[in-house]
């Protein structure tokens, strides 16, 4: 009888947290520095990336998976 397989490993959640942090830094850098509105087209991907990473890390901390 095998135990339930973890959906997200400790290493995976760490990588996800790091990716989320990088996305957040890029997002804030674009917001502060850019003079071209075309960079704002990357916001949906970056914002959703930050949100998904934050949600996964919080759920991991709460031992949801």
């Amino acid at each position: 009888m095998g135990g339930r397989r973890a959906v997200l490993s400790a290493r995976g959640s760490l990588a996800l947290a790091a990716a989320g942090a990088v996305f957040l830094v890029v997002l804030l850098a674009i917001a502060q520095r850019t003079t071209s509105a075309l960079w704002f087209l990357t916001f949906p991907v970056l914002l959703l990336g930050v949100l998904v990473a934050a949600a996964a890390v919080v759920l991991r901390m709460l031992r949801h998976f």
């Binding site: 674009i30 917001a31 502060q32 850019t34 003079t35 071209s36 509105a37 075309l38 704002f40 087209l41 916001f43 949906p44 914002l47 959703l48 949100l51």
Partner: protein
């Protein structure tokens, strides 16, 4: 259900169109916005045409793509209105929120995220078409604020939908129990 929602959106779209047309006319007569009549009339005609087309489509049901198409065209028309009425200084920026609230509360979190993404792309296009010049930090903050409101509206809509489902199951249980009680025979005295 979706057909009913899209029909009510058509009514709201007519009301908003009339109000926006009246606002543009008023501001133009006062000299607050410098926009040619041809642009105003063209936008209004386009909106009326699209609204009539949606009405025709909805006669035979609501296809799955329709809610996304109506949302995208609404945001595109608002963006065009913003571009011709002063770009980032346009007083019609608030109209984006009508689309957000109207769709989020009707369809939930998924649609909230869809509206926020489409708004993000549309507003970036507005900034590209009518650049305010210099630093764009204020515009980035506007986009972040919109995302924040979209997520909050989506969360509230999700909660509301869950409560509606619970209430519906209670009503079904009450109806079933009433039916069972009505079928029970009275005890013999």
């Amino acid at each position: 259900m979706e057909q009913q929602i899209e029909r009510s959106k058509i009514v709201v779209r007519w009301i908003v169109a009339v109000l926006l047309f009246a606002a543009v006319t008023y501001l133009k007569r006062r000299g607050e916005v410098d926009v040619p009549w041809t642009s105003v009339l063209l936008l209004t005609a386009l909106l009326a045409l699209l609204n009539l087309a949606y009405g025709v489509i909805l006669r035979s049901g609501a296809p799955g793509w329709l809610k996304y198409a109506t949302t995208a065209t609404d945001l595109a028309l608002i963006s065009a209105l913003i571009v011709i009425t002063g770009g980032t200084r346009s007083v019609f920026y608030f109209a984006y929120f009508i689309v957000l609230v109207s769709n989020s509360f009707r369809y939930g979190m998924g649609m909230s995220l869809c509206v926020a993404t489409l708004y993000n792309l549309a507003y970036a296009s507005v900034l590209f078409a009518a650049p305010p010049g210099g630093d764009l930090t204020v515009e980035a903050v506007k986009i972040f604020a919109f995302w924040g409101i979209a997520l909050y509206a989506g969360y509230l809509a999700t909660r509301f939908q869950r409560q509606t489902r619970i209430l519906q199951s209670y009503e079904e249980t009450i109806t079933r129990l009433r039916h069972e009680v009505a079928q029970m025979k009275p005890p013999a005295s």
